[in-house]
């Protein structure tokens, strides 16, 4: 009897470890031989802990599972009150296009053989036979754009590093995942760590880099230990080290743990942090592709960007590019979170609308009250009202509506939300995390929070509101990076779409 009980941190947060221990103990008392596999999560987080039984015709799910549900699992699983049927037929799962997350939740994350049995390392083998130039060309042809937020074409970045002169180059994975409402990086590292390792190795082969680092935030202790364990296994199997997959390429990979600074997700601050300095943003140019880690040519990509590479090489660039719309090719692992009924990770081709994601897939709010706002793209992303739910999930379509996709997070709020408070929080967060290099960000955000406080307490709301708008303009144009530069997105969108929360007197002004 094979039982799957996730080891994903979200499953652990709702009791998966206790269930695994109790399932083993219960099986022992019954004298039943069970194999408990600690898989990653399927991404249906409202169903966690989601326990799965391996049956002849597929895996059957049970959840959200509690200790009291254990005896029934061994008695008559089909009649179990928590039975969900075949996991892959649950609508939330069946509607997805799981390319990057194809193995996540399916395999044992730390079993290299299981990884290979599910297509793992076929991509690297192909990249090795293609050679550097064609490998980069394949990435370009896939249309993959950086999943960290900026959406820069990955193939073009790789080409710059490939053609940059120099004997020492680096591959750096940005696993800082600081955006609230996002957890795709965490899930892939905990659920399919070899995909990230393989993706980074393909990058190393493509540009001739011999060293790589995964800059992983300290808030993710489970991802850190899973990644470290996976790297050790890949080394032992010869998939990392002096002769990658028996080739002439050497690639050494290490995890480096962040220290709780949101701004270190910005790529140049990240590089300074890796070098052992304060994580301050560097002025560009020079770009990291040419002058990166320790001044050497460096690829910095997001975790999901790298983890998508193995699919592209296994199935071909076209298979990836066939999904999507416009200049947004492929899929996005959208993370639906906050006050939502069906929260989780939903990987889907670009082009689905925001409303479908929130209402159909997410099922509306968790409280059952009307959805009032959705923040898309993390703490620097805009708030969308239901009136804009027809926005298609596409980089350009979001930009056209003064928003951003960012790293793919959606945080849902019901009608109890106070948008003035959310705008204030955006300013406060910016002030808290500012690296201190530019005045509009460092000082402007502190001022911004104070001024919004005055609006909240009803002091000169009209005058103070125009002061906030001025501050936003200054931050937008006077900041070196998107922390100061994009904080105006949540603030201004809150003011524009929810003027009634900023005192009734200002409605005519904001409506213009």
């Amino acid at each position: 009897m094979r039982i799957f009980i996730p080891r994903d941190a979200a499953a652990l947060a709702v009791g998966a470890d206790k269930i695994a221990t109790a399932v083993r103990a219960h099986a022992k008392t019954l004298g039943v031989d069970v194999q408990v596999i600690r898989n990653g999560s399927r991404g249906m987080l409202w169903l966690e802990p989601l326990v799965e039984l391996d049956m002849p015709d597929g895996r059957i799910g049970f959840g959200p599972f509690t200790l009291a549900d254990i005896p029934g699992l061994f008695a008559d699983p089909a009649a179990h009150p928590k039975a969900l049927g075949k996991v892959e037929e649950i609508p939330f799962f069946a509607r997805q296009h799981r390319l990057t997350f194809a193995r996540c939740g399916v395999i044992d994350p730390l079993d290299l053989e299981d990884y290979r049995a599910h297509g793992g390392y076929t991509g690297l083998a192909r990249a090795l036979s293609l050679g550097a130039a064609d490998t980069v060309a394949e990435v370009k042809a896939s249309g993959l754009r950086g999943r960290g937020g900026a959406g820069f074409p990955t193939g073009i970045k790789w080409e710059t590093v490939r053609t940059a002169p120099g004997p020492q180059k680096y591959i750096v994975c940005n696993a800082d995942e600081g955006d609230s409402g996002t957890f795709a990086d965490r899930m892939i590292m905990e659920g399919d760590p070899f995909a990230l390792i393989e993706g980074m190795t393909i990058a190393a082969v493509a540009v001739g880099a011999s060293r790589g680092y995964i800059y992983l935030r300290s808030e993710y202790p489970h991802a850190i230990s899973t990644m470290n364990a996976a790297i050790a296994k890949a080394e032992r199997a010869g998939m990392l080290g002096a002769a990658v997959m028996g080739s002439a390429h050497a690639f050494e990979l290490q995890v480096r743990v962040g220290a709780g600074a949101y701004v270190c997700g910005e790529e140049t601050a990240l590089l300074d942090s890796l070098e052992g300095k304060r994580g301050q943003v560097r002025a560009k140019p020079p770009i990291p592709a040419l002058v990166g880690l320790f001044g050497k040519p460096t690829i910095v990509n997001n975790t999901i960007s790298f983890a998508t590479i193995p699919f592209i090489f296994e199935k071909g660039a076209k298979a990836y590019a066939d999904y999507g719309m416009g200049r947004s090719r492929g899929t996005m692992p959208v993370q639906i979170a906050g006050n939502v009924k069906h929260g989780g990770l939903f990987e889907v081709a670009f082009g689905i609308t925001l409303g479908e994601l929130v209402q159909d897939v997410g099922g509306g709010s968790a409280t059952g009250r009307p959805v009032r706002a959705v923040q898309a793209g993390g703490p620097l992303g805009a708030y969308f009202p239901p009136a804009l739910f027809d926005t298609e999930y596409d980089y350009e379509a979001f930009t056209a509506r003064d928003g951003l996709i960012g790293h793919g997070g959606l945080v849902v709020f019901d009608d109890a939300v106070d948008m003035a408070r959310m705008a204030r929080f955006a300013m406060e967060f910016c002030a808290h995390e500012s690296c201190g290099k530019c005045t509009p960000c460092r000082i402007g955000a502190v001022r911004g929070a104070e001024v919004i406080d005055r609006i909240i307490t009803g002091q000169d709301p009209v005058q103070n509101l125009s002061l906030v708008q001025e501050l936003c303009e200054t931050m937008k144009f006077g900041s070196l990076c998107a922390l100061g530069g994009f904080t105006p997105y949540p603030v201004m969108s809150a003011i524009r779409h929810f003027p009634e929360d900023f005192a009734p007197a200002v409605m005519p002004v904001a409506a213009q």
Partner: protein
């Protein structure tokens, strides 16, 4: 990890300069060893003391001001010991949308603490954190290295009481 007398270290131990030097030395082969050293020092001693900064500065050929500059930049590094247990409550947007702030306020009031403070008996420090990646199981918290989700005021209080 083992200290200089060979004992396996779990809880933070008191200052031991031989052990600290050994920790620093173990990381010297790394490129950019600063953050790994600071993490290891903090794991061993619970915080990064003046003594530790002096040793690190000497070994890395930096001024003490430079080391201090790094330590003070990052939210994770402590310059004073925390309580025996640390409870980090997520204050970011997804957790706010599910009542995380109200739960936190309730707990802090119960304990008579403000953010970042430690109970008088030194058992528990309550701190803010901005996203634990558990945003679909909000509100969430980290008690030492243990993750917790779908908290309400009662279960959060119970969690804190376990640590007290």
């Amino acid at each position: 990890m083992k200290n200089s007398t060979g004992n396996v270290v779990h809880a933070p131990q008191s200052w031991d300069s031989v052990f600290a030097e050994q920790i620093i030395e173990e990381h010297m082969a790394l490129e950019g060893p600063m953050l790994p050293i600071l993490h290891a020092i903090q794991a061993a001693f619970g915080f990064i003391s003046e003594d530790a900064m002096r040793l690190i500065a000497a070994r890395l050929n930096l001024s003490r001001a430079e080391v201090y500059g790094v330590v003070s930049f990052y939210h994770d590094y402590r310059q004073a010991p925390a309580g025996r247990h640390v409870l980090k409550l997520c204050r970011a947007e997804a957790c706010q949308s599910m009542g995380g702030e109200e739960n936190a306020e309730h707990l802090l009031r119960r304990l008579g603490l403000d953010w970042g403070q430690t109970t008088p008996d030194g058992r528990l420090t309550v701190e803010a954190v901005y996203c634990l990646g558990l945003c679909a199981c909000a509100p969430s918290a980290l008690l030492d290295h243990e993750v917790h989700g779908r908290l309400d005021a009662a279960s959060l209080e119970q969690l804190a009481m376990e640590a007290l």
